[in-house]
């Protein structure tokens, strides 16, 4: 028995010593690393928004389409963009639950409904793990869907464990993390390059379409519909005015979807909207956007200019937003 205790003690000493060294290296790594979850950094500033008045949820479509510079800086409303790349409704709900005390009583919330919203945009397990990991940096474990302590340890507490080749940055020659054949920085586009833009967008649209549609037999998953219903119920309980919205896409992207799919999509969204008593606005095929590639960053994401224009359109067309702007006083104190 004595020998077993001795053996166990020796193993523990080595393990604890290794963990101590790991902890020290992790401190160094946190100083030198590039944060892979930088899009989640905005949540570390959410305390600066104690009474959010206008906000949106959603995936990258929402992230790119809602630009609150004018409403926030010039008109003084507290606005927050909760959207992040490939964010699904269950994570939207998790975020709402976590920050339930941050919303003003008369808050207006845009809930984007994209063509892929009722399925899983990401089907690759490693990409899903990467996208999920960012929520561990700011959400409490109790709010994270399918919380896994292992992911929490390797991404949040000891990020050096998930650093991969980035771990060499802790070495003195860390500047070697350049590509062997680094691509040249993009120059100002020539007319030929501009002409090639449409071809590029078309190709990206095809890629996005395949990512969203391939290998998915049953597209409108009940689980996702239930997630969206939970969000709408949350809004109702907390006095938040919810607005369902489909953001603009280029025609290159939206024309890839069949009329049958679009019909089913609209029927699904409209059923959800009418059941919850919330409005739904569809800008996916809006001619003011769909044929103007200069308003887009790619086939289905608005660029800064497009987002600014989109916000103007919303302000002039959406009655809920107009009502809100008439009755709500800006919360900005500075």
């Amino acid at each position: 028995m004595k020998k077993i205790v001795l053996f166990t003690a020796k193993c523990l000493i080595v393990c604890l010593g290794t963990l101590f060294l790991l902890f020290l290296l992790n401190l160094r790594y946190e100083q030198v690393r590039d944060n892979p979850y930088s899009d989640a950094d905005k949540f570390f500033h959410i305390k600066e928004y104690p009474d959010i008045q206008i906000c949106n949820l959603g995936s990258s479509h929402g992230e790119y389409a809602f630009k609150y510079d004018f409403l926030a800086y010039l008109r003084g409303y507290q606005c927050f963009n909760f959207a992040m790349s490939s964010q699904t409704y269950d994570y939207d709900y998790a975020i709402l639950s976590m920050y339930r005390d941050s919303f003003a009583d008369d808050c207006l919330m845009f809930i984007p409904v994209s063509y892929f919203s009722f399925n899983n945009e990401v089907t690759n397990e490693s990409e899903e793990q990467f996208l999920t990991a960012k929520y561990y940096t700011f959400l409490s474990p109790k709010f994270i869907p399918h919380y896994d302590p292992y992911i929490d340890i390797v991404t949040h507490y000891l990020p050096i464990l998930s650093a991969g080749e980035e771990v060499v940055k802790i070495l003195p020659f860390s500047s070697l993390s350049l590509k062997v054949f680094a691509a040249a920085p993009p120059a100002t586009p020539s007319p030929e390059e501009l002409a090639a833009m449409e071809a590029q967008f078309r190709e990206k649209a095809q890629n996005r379409y395949h990512r969203h549609m391939d290998g998915k037999e049953e597209y409108f998953l009940q689980e996702r519909i239930d997630n969206l219903n939970s969000i709408l119920a949350f809004c109702k309980e907390n006095g938040i005015t919810a607005v369902l919205i489909t953001t603009p896409y280029t025609s290159l992207y939206s024309e890839l979807f069949s009329p049958e799919f679009k019909e089913e999509f609209h029927a699904t969204v409209e059923t959800i909207a009418s059941n919850a008593g919330v409005p739904y606005y569809d800008y996916s095929d809006d001619g003011r956007f769909s044929n103007r590639l200069e308003l887009f960053a790619d086939a289905d994401h608005l660029n800064d200019e497009g987002a600014t224009y989109f916000m103007d359109v919303l302000e002039s067309e959406i009655p809920e937003m107009q009502d809100f702007l008439l009755r709500a006083k800006p919360n900005r104190t500075q």
Binding site: I4, V14, T18, L22, I160, V167, L176, V180
Partner: protein, 473 residues
């Protein structure tokens, strides 16, 4: 349960403590229950195949031993071989045969229990040994079941022999600190090979071999060398973990790998690669066929037959059979007159040693192409276009580097563990590194252990849990 999983990291320490605190005479029951749990964790239904194999071979071994008549013994052995290989053939090869014959797919798809190729061969070897009267049949079903299902070796070997393993399982032993200490260090080496080296190489290998039409030239050679290292680290890593794990319970399993890529001939390679399987084929197939004690032509046939069966054992596919056939052909070529003489002459010449090691590695890599490629047309593309545009050396290399799409950081990240492995394997030819390190002062060896664990933690792939490559066989 797989060795590189969190459940196993919890399972092993608990089983270890409980095993050694359990009264010695009941330890086998405990180890048997642990082994069943380990196996059922993957799929509870698998246990029926394991128990069926154990029960059939146990009863036939007793019948074989009690039979006095040689024809009856032969009959029992025949039944045993038929029953055990029949189940294996049905589960593993039926789809392949149907595909080859061009028949429509059956309505029922059989599941292939993990490790069945290994424990079927272990029980087959046991039956043949009993038939030959090499040792007595085990009468205690509990011990026999443990022999078949001992969890460290259950999924991917090493394929055990009854005379080596059964006495150990029955022996009441006390805890041996140096043995356990060696075991845990060997496990760490195994994890290093599997999680660090094989894990790092796998994405590049998969990228090239899963889409060979997208690449051309040197990248094929790089990916093939990477695959050679990946499969070695994957499988020998598993074996090291298995052997080390068994040592924690005071059981010695047979060695399975001895730095095979430093072999100077294909014959030597097979004496260093998957030793438990190659010796199994030697003892139970090659020698019964007549081995080398027959005419030259028959000897060549024996070699070829053994390697073709070895290829088929690895997988139900033409590419695996071809891989076995290529190795059979290599072996036949090595038996050609004058070939051995040269080899012996060159033994003391360092240049010849280097050249023959390089040549052997190249030949082994060539055969791996067939093993890894999805089909023969992919394999042919890889072989025929590996030297495409080699005349323009700069472009030939540049294209490969662009295709690899690696940063300097990733290259460093990849090269450090691979170089460490090569140094470890080369040094292992001269001495036992673990024993050598264990003899050093604590202030020397403990930091080395910690550094090694740190390398495993930092360099291993922790995103998605990957199964061991050899499980599919």
């Amino acid at each position: 349960m797989i060795f590189n999983s969190i459940p196993f990291a919890v399972f092993l320490p608990i089983i270890f403590i409980l095993y050694w605190t359990c009264p010695a005479k009941y330890r086998y029951i405990f180890l048997l229950a642990a082994s069943f749990y380990f196996y059922m964790y993957l799929n509870p239904k698998y246990i029926f195949f394991l128990l069926g194999t154990a029960a059939v071979s146990y009863l036939l071994a007793l019948a074989l031993e009690s039979a006095t008549d040689i024809s009856r013994k032969k009959l029992y052995l025949f039944i045993g071989i038929l029953a055990l290989t029949g189940v294996l053939a049905l589960l593993k090869y039926s789809n392949f045969v149907i595909e080859i014959a061009g028949l429509p797919s059956p309505a029922i798809q059989f599941m292939l229990p993990v490790g069945i190729s290994f424990y079927t061969f272990q029980t087959l070897g046991y039956l043949i040994d009993i038939y030959r009267g090499k040792y007595s049949a085990e009468r205690h079903f509990g011990y026999y079941c443990l022999f078949v299902s001992f969890f460290p070796q259950l999924l991917s070997g090493p394929i055990g022999r009854g005379d080596m393993l059964l006495p150990q399982l029955k022996k009441e032993r006390s805890f041996d600190l140096p043995q356990a200490s060696y075991g845990i260090k060997l496990m760490a080496v195994g994890y290093y090979k599997k999680l660090v080296v094989a894990g790092l190489l796998a994405p590049t290998v998969d990228k090239v071999y899963d889409n060979p039409d997208s690449y051309i030239g040197l990248i094929y050679i790089i990916a093939t060398i990477m695959f050679a290292l990946q499969i070695y680290c994957d499988f020998s890593g598993y074996t090291d973990i298995a052997i080390g794990c068994a040592k924690l319970f005071g059981i010695e399993l047979s060695e399975n790998f001895k730095s095979p890529y430093f072999s100077r001939s294909i014959k030597e390679f097979w004496s260093r690669w998957h030793i438990s399987l190659s010796t199994w084929f030697r003892d139970y197939l090659y020698i019964p066929l007549g081995g080398n004690r027959v005419g030259r032509f028959r000897h060549c046939l024996n070699l070829m037959a053994t390697f073709l069966v070895s290829g088929l054992w690895h997988g139900a596919g033409i590419n695996y059979i071809l891989w076995g056939g290529i190795h059979g052909l290599y072996q036949i070529m090595e038996t050609l007159p004058g070939r051995n003489k040269k080899g012996r002459k060159g033994k003391r010449n360092p240049f010849w040693n280097f050249f023959s090691t390089f040549l052997t590695f190249t030949l082994v890599c060539f055969a791996w192409v067939f093993f890894r490629a999805d089909n023969l047309s992919h394999a042919w593309r890889i072989i025929s276009l590996s030297f495409h545009e080699i005349g323009n050396l700069h472009n030939y290399m540049r294209t490969a580097i662009i295709c690899l799409d690696m940063s300097y950081a990733y290259m460093i990240y990849l090269c450090i563990p691979v170089l460490l492995l090569i140094v470890y394997d080369y040094a292992s030819l001269k001495m036992n590194i673990i024993t050598w390190l264990s003899s050093k002062k604590p202030w020397v060896r403990y930091p080395v252990y910690m550094l090694f664990l740190l390398i495993i933690l930092l360099f291993s792939e922790k995103g998605v849990s990957t199964e061991f490559y050899y499980f599919q066989f």
